[in-house]
């Protein structure tokens, strides 16, 4: 018998603290599977954010660093410039990346830092109890938008992938989702490409992963996957927004 699925070596055996059914866990596993497949576990340095995935350094079985809220791309920049031969990635939520860390991610992409960002968009501040994020959908209820986000009061949700794809320094930008096994497979393929492009020195790479927060959305884990599919996909279309030009 051969094992065709299970815990990848790039993930510690420690159990996640995430809520039942939270897709942060799936995304962790995909990143770890990619590190295994590319054989880069011992060459990789990850930067953990502030947010529910603040303890990511306890879970990835590679070198890890913690960053202040939103500052992971700046920390990753420093690490990559000192260790240009290492594979450097950040793992960040939407509150971390699209709110307090907007400047850092935009300038890291603009400078074409050769890092990979895994951007987990669950349309909410999960860790702090469900406040509105810049990515919260119109009409979506949060503790700070109890009647639903309104355009008049809070404006429109940011489309980070579309925005970053306009920057010349961005080499690979894709948005994927993990709401069913088919999409999980595609999400992993995009993450793998991002790491490969980083290793090939193409420039800044980012994969936005649409994710659930059953706890703060007030849904069961199964309902949350359905909610993601029905509400997030129409506003946040999946696909590759930027790919590096093939070298001749």
């Amino acid at each position: 018998m051969i094992k065709v699925a299970g815990r990848p070596e790039s993930l510690q055996s420690k159990q996640f603290h995430y809520c039942p059914g939270c897709t942060h866990g799936i995304i962790h596993r995909l990143v770890a599977e990619v590190m295994d497949e590319l054989g880069i576990r011992e060459e990789s340095i990850g930067v953990a954010p502030v947010g529910c995935s603040v303890l990511a350094y306890e879970y990835f079985n590679c070198d890890m660093h913690e960053a202040a809220h939103g500052r992971a791309p700046a920390v990753a920049t420093g690490i990559k410039r000192v260790h240009p031969d290492k594979v450097v990635f950040t793992y960040q939520g939407d509150g971390d990346l699209a709110s307090i860390g907007t400047a850092e991610i935009v300038h890291a992409a603009g400078r074409s830092e050769k890092i990979t960002t895994i951007f987990v968009n669950n349309a909410i501040y999960g860790m702090t109890g469900g406040q509105m994020a810049p990515t919260t959908l119109i009409g979506q209820k949060a503790t700070t938008s109890p009647y639903g986000r309104s355009v008049e009061a809070q404006g429109y949700p940011l489309k980070v992938s579309e925005m970053l794809a306009t920057l010349t320094g961005a080499a690979y930008i894709a948005r994927v989702s993990v709401h069913d096994p088919q999409h999980i497979r595609k999400a992993k393929a995009a993450i793998k490409k991002a790491f490969e492009y980083q290793i090939a020195g193409k420039g800044f790479t980012l994969v936005e992963v649409l994710s659930t927060c059953p706890t703060n959305w007030g849904l069961t884990p199964i309902e949350a996957l359905k909610w993601l599919e029905e509400n997030m996909l129409p506003y946040y279309p999946l696909g590759e927004y930027k790919t590096p030009e093939e070298v001749k």
């Binding site: 018998m1 094992k3 299970g6 815990r7 159990q15 096994p181 069961t220």
Partner: protein
């Protein structure tokens, strides 16, 4: 014959794995695990086709899937 193995005490009873099995053999157990959840399990293992969908969607790496080696 393919086989799935659940690390029961890791399971958080989220039920995501029960929704993706093409053979509908992943079910929630009546027993309670160390965390206090009803863990997922497979009743009719002989029906498993080893597609690994269940392991793929599990957020807590509870599930391992084994298959016969291809000749």
């Amino acid at each position: 014959m393919p086989k799935v193995v659940f690390d029961e005490d890791r399971c958080k009873g989220c039920e995501l794995c029960t929704t993706v099995c093409p053979k509908n053999i992943v079910v929630m157990s009546k027993k309670i695990n160390a965390k206090g959840y009803h863990p997922a399990t497979v009743d009719e293992m002989d029906k498993c086709i080893g597609c690994a969908f269940c392991a793929n969607i599990c957020p807590d790496t509870v599930i391992e899937v084994f298959k016969e080696e291809k000749k």
